[in-house]
Symmetry: none
Subunit: 219 residues, 4 copies
Amino acid sequence: MSDSSPSIKRRGRAAAGSAASRADRAAERRAAIVQAAMDEFIARGFAATRLDDIARRAGVAKGTIYLHFKDKESMFEELIRTAIVPFVSRLTTPPAPGGSVRDMVEALAKMFLQEVAGTRRADLVRLIIAEGPRFQAIADFYYREVVSRGLAAMRALIQLAITRGEIREPNLVAYPQLMIAPMMVAVLWKSLFERHAPLDAEAMLQTHLDLIFGARRPQ
Amino acid sequence: MSDSSPSIKRRGRAAAGSAASRADRAAERRAAIVQAAMDEFIARGFAATRLDDIARRAGVAKGTIYLHFKDKESMFEELIRTAIVPFVSRLTTPPAPGGSVRDMVEALAKMFLQEVAGTRRADLVRLIIAEGPRFQAIADFYYREVVSRGLAAMRALIQLAITRGEIREPNLVAYPQLMIAPMMVAVLWKSLFERHAPLDAEAMLQTHLDLIFGARRPQ
Amino acid sequence: MSDSSPSIKRRGRAAAGSAASRADRAAERRAAIVQAAMDEFIARGFAATRLDDIARRAGVAKGTIYLHFKDKESMFEELIRTAIVPFVSRLTTPPAPGGSVRDMVEALAKMFLQEVAGTRRADLVRLIIAEGPRFQAIADFYYREVVSRGLAAMRALIQLAITRGEIREPNLVAYPQLMIAPMMVAVLWKSLFERHAPLDAEAMLQTHLDLIFGARRPQ
Amino acid sequence: MSDSSPSIKRRGRAAAGSAASRADRAAERRAAIVQAAMDEFIARGFAATRLDDIARRAGVAKGTIYLHFKDKESMFEELIRTAIVPFVSRLTTPPAPGGSVRDMVEALAKMFLQEVAGTRRADLVRLIIAEGPRFQAIADFYYREVVSRGLAAMRALIQLAITRGEIREPNLVAYPQLMIAPMMVAVLWKSLFERHAPLDAEAMLQTHLDLIFGARRPQ
DNA sequence: AATGAATGAGCCTTCATTCAT
DNA sequence: TATGAATGAAGGCTCATTCAT
């Protein structure tokens, strides 16, 4: 008698019987949308990205997106924020304190190169650079959460290195950007010019560190 | 940036000086369109820019744009190219050969900071970074005309400095990007974070040069 | 012709009968668009027809058209094809085989006159003639599905008539167009000159048949 | 002193020194426009034809067209009229009165086939059929000048043939369209289907005449 | 008279957003 | 909650027409 399953419209993954609660499924969907949106925004930029494509890529209906986000713009902002957050914790985690400052900086920089340069996250950085001026909220957030924290951490390391005598140039503490600049360039290079001329970012990093900390193997 | 070219809207008769020939007028109009388009593209990016706005800003009718450009896309590409070209000659002009290499590099870098960072051209660089992946032709052109030439020139200077003993680090010749990275960062900083924290690019440059060439006033 | 389908504009809730499923509604809409488009194309030709007018006449939004057709051009082609198809079956249905060939031809011709000449379908024929050269696909389709089949059927009848001695002129079998020509002229006449001078197509048909089969009532 | 020839802009053909008066040149230009416009209208229909293309084809500036015609629409109407006129005289010229009526009709028909079917004029007929309903003035003109006259002339010939006993069917006089229908069909066939199946219009004509006048060589 | 640059209304098409189911 | 058909406001581009030269 019961008109059971009036229309199970392609649930597919939800077949997991009863384990997946409704909330779980919603979370899954949301994650799929976030993932898809990030891919599309990175590939096309904000304005040129179509919600249709995001929906298709996420395997949901267009309307579903509006159950999770107010509109395209806030989806974009929230997305970027979400993508940045896990990175922030990395920056705030102090590096293994043992060893030389150079080693600590090197470890940090390598981590950055591996996890950003040459990955989709490089394009995220590019995306923030590209859309920043139009999404001040994002630029602000990025500055507050990533840039200022990252620079502060770097400044502390520089200060430490100067104190320890690892770095001679005292002014560097005023410009931690100098420490980071090559990483920035590497990220953009991968994204824009890698096909023209590959860049060995890690080797460049060594040279950079040699300049700042003094060459290791002067011998 | 500034809404330059207040755009003489359809003067009834020949007004401006009376000397302006038809060709002159056409050139004027084209210049106005180029200017307006650059402003709009910089402000909004390619996809979000409306030809309507460009036309209004340039003080011409929408159709007029199509007398000068095939379509939005080729207008964009041609624009970027046109804007880059005058810069190329600067890069290829060898700096005054007298004096130390550091002086030459410093002169170059200051010129770059003054004429790019903090001007509309900084946003042009940002625009290229932003749209590069979607306009490979532009990325290619930029790499070929600006990046590779700039790096080659820088490499030559580094080589010279090493020969002369001004620079100790021999590996730097393999990574001229290291020389340029702070300039790049300065440009992007101005465009994105200046309002959060002003950056004294020239002072940063001095520190950068001290790192590479050795501090000047070590006493 | 007549603005049939008064087009229920966006009824707030489910109105019409309540039985109409979503698919039904879509089919209805599509039918309304097809109808409206046919009317407009017939009235103005392909190039001069505005999708705006089609949408308004069909009682749908402009965008809705694009849910059913790729673009104006393929809408036009598909439309013509759709309109022709039901006619093809008529042509392929052999006429009641009893009686004289003249009777069979007469039946066919009358059917044609009644269902084409003086109806919107006459304008469809005109439309095909008008746009054929610019829409070769349509001309091809029309030739393949209608013209060649119609002529083949007519040729078979002529052959039969010659065999039976109903038609004396043996060469007619090579030019079935001669049998059809007056019908063609009647159709175009109705569409173009009826208001100048009405044409009694059926009477003309009788005379035509008399010429070909010999006068009936020679006495 | 006389500011002679202030700017002979590409006159080219006008080089004929002094022979070509200004009026002559204007007439030439007008003729070129008429010719070009006819070609374009035939190739694309009224709505899809661009004045730009007409101007280019005629070798004049776009503005020049407006020195000769009020606007696109009246150009079209005037054009068709102009093209039809020379044909009217042909129709009104009685055929060589000697010989049989069949010979006269045959001569007329052959003339028509040669000068219309298979030439650009066939497309003119198609154009009139196509645009007639949207340009009632043209349809009216065409009916008045060509159709009614042509039919009247044909009717007279039929009457004569009946009187002389060349034609048996008395009703034909009421439907001179029957005499002309195959020619009409031939013209449209050439324009639409010739590439699918060539039509030997003259042979078809013979069969047609045989049907009406009786086979020639029954022997 | 002739030119063709300039205009701007208008058209096709796209796409963010809504809402009945 | 999820869907996707439907909407309609834009936006890119075209082209008949005008008008200063």
